[in-house]
Amino acid sequence: MKILVPISKVPDTTSKIAFTDNNSKFSTDNVQFIMNPTDEWYALTKAIELKEQQGGEVVVINVGLAENEQIIRKALAIGADSAVRVDFDAADAYQVAEEIASYAKTGGFDLIITGKETIDFNSFQVGGMVAEFLDWNAVSLASVLTVEGNKANVTRDIEGGTETVEITLPAVVGATKDLAQARIPNMKGIMSARTKPLTVVVPTSSGALTKVASFELPSKAKECKYVQADNVGELVRLLHEEAKVI
């Protein structure tokens, strides 16, 4: 089975969020970048688990500039067999998806496993777009995935529960928590990552369809109103009369 795992690079969750250039650009000062958590912990490790069970190959792909090779090497150290970097600073998810889909068309892949969303834009769109460009089946928010022949069984989150579906491959699956057990790269992995193939591909995508007009930070920290522990009735009154939420 041949599996493609799109990985993205995001600011570490604990980063301080600030903007420059008149609030039009994310400030990278003192920001540490990491592989998007759901891509690393669930999408990539699920692909590796499937390969270990059934044989095959795991390829990671990133759409981004050379500085992203740090996270690509980490994915190789965790256990991907090879990597592709599309050398392109994409302006929106549409362009990212177009690049991933056009690469996927060349490779004879059975499965693409993405993360559910990136933790910077929380936009949850690349997986669905890739599926549509390829005209493949897709399931997102997957917490269980098993593959047998050309069928995959996937458990996905729905409102108030989960649903298990069977889909025909090739397909795109979007990973959420618990899809796989996260792995830490070991010494052997780190050493072998240096020699695993990383191919750089030139971009082919058309123009972006959306752009960021501006960013905004919350105007001020919330002011917490304290209620005494022996006066809980006051909290109920405030929630009803002031906040109007009950």
Partner: protein
């Protein structure tokens, strides 16, 4: 020109999140000086369909085709895109709910439309340009995204608006999208719904607790408070990791994102990864023994106190309030 809302049905009933999408579509249509229509796939009564009118939809295109009984992103994307093309929609609105999150980007590709995912407020429309704000960096900032494509797709983040129900009814017209059996590639095998409780991601009120409760045996009061209020229960990851509570209750960066009107956090410290999943709640109440707990910085109301004393009192006071 029109604005098209996609309204999802489950067992013949339109989902709450879809009524919100319909309302958002109607408000957007007002801004654009046009009307809002809706497309519904799968069986639903005429009365149910017409009820979309109460949220400002004038006409519902109904594909009463049994193959749409379960969500299939590929077939649904074809049908919704066809509806947009056939009925002259320049803006398509969906909910940013579990199915909408997968369907909307597919529809956007089919229509070559600029897509704004997870809009939290109504758009600004200036000529062909549409701009909408959405939360980014897990709620730590907001981005205004803009698109000027001929067709546009917007997915509205659940619980962003407070839809106002009017008295209108929508007319219903049959719609037969050109989907073939080969477009359906998803077969539902089983559904595992949590019964007896309010679904967390749809809840207006959430009562959540963390390690401050000391052990799973102490959750009785949390469940009782939630039951009294008609709230869903949630927990921190620290608690689901040690199996005090089920995984489907865990909220935060690695769990569910919730956006209720009221989030009550009991004995949760307020780590940044926890806040990422809850800080879009309208009102946050924090109950914690430690006045320095970081959660108080994100709270609207706080009680510095012991959960084992405060929560039983809160149940009692809430009962009094309800009885009054």
């Amino acid at each position: 020109m029109s604005v098209l809302a996609f309204a999802e049905v489950a067992e013949g009933k339109i989902k709450k999140a879809s009524f919100e999408a319909a309302y958002y579509a109607a408000k957007t249509a007002e801004l654009a000086g046009t009307e809002a229509v809706a497309v519904v796939l799968g069986a639903a009564s005429n009365e149910e369909l017409a009820s979309l009118g109460a949220y400002g939809i004038t006409k519902v295109y109904h594909a009463n085709d049994a193959r749409f009984a379960n969500f299939d992103s590929k077939a649904y994307a074809k049908a919704v895109s066809e509806a947009a093309n056939s009925f002259g929609a320049s803006i398509v609105v969906l909910s940013f709910n579990p199915s909408g999150k997968l369907l909307a980007p597919r529809v956007a590709v089919r229509l070559k439309a600029g897509y704004i995912a997870g809009a939290g407020e109504l758009p600004i429309i200036e000529g062909t340009k549409l701009t909408a704000g959405k939360n980014v960096y897990s709620g730590k900032a907001k981005a205004y995204l803009e698109t000027s494509t001929d067709k546009k797709v917007l997915a509205v983040s659940p619980n962003s608006l407070s839809p106002v129900k009017g008295s209108g009814t929508a007319s219903v017209e049959a719609f037969s999208p050109a989907v073939s059996d080969a477009d359906f590639g998803t077969v539902v095998k089983s559904v595992d719904k949590l019964t007896g409780s309010v679904p967390l991601t749809e809840a207006d009120l959430v009562v959540s607790a963390g390690r401050g409760l000391k052990g799973p045996e102490n959750w009785g009061m949390i469940e009782e408070l939630a039951k009294e209020m008609g709230a869903a229960t949630a927990c921190s990851r620290a608690v689901s990791d040690v199996d005090w509570r089920p995984h489907h209750e865990h909220v935060g960066q690695t769990g569910f994102t919730v956006k209720p009107n009221l989030y009550i956090a009991v004995g949760i410290s307020g780590a940044i990864q926890h806040l990422a999943g809850v800080n879009q709640s309208k009102v946050i109440v924090v109950i914690n023994t430690d006045p320095e707990a970081p959660f108080f910085k994100a709270a609207d109301y706080g009680i510095v106190g012991d959960a084992f004393e405060v929560v039983p009192k809160l149940i009692e006071e809430y009962k009094k309030f309800k009885a009054a």
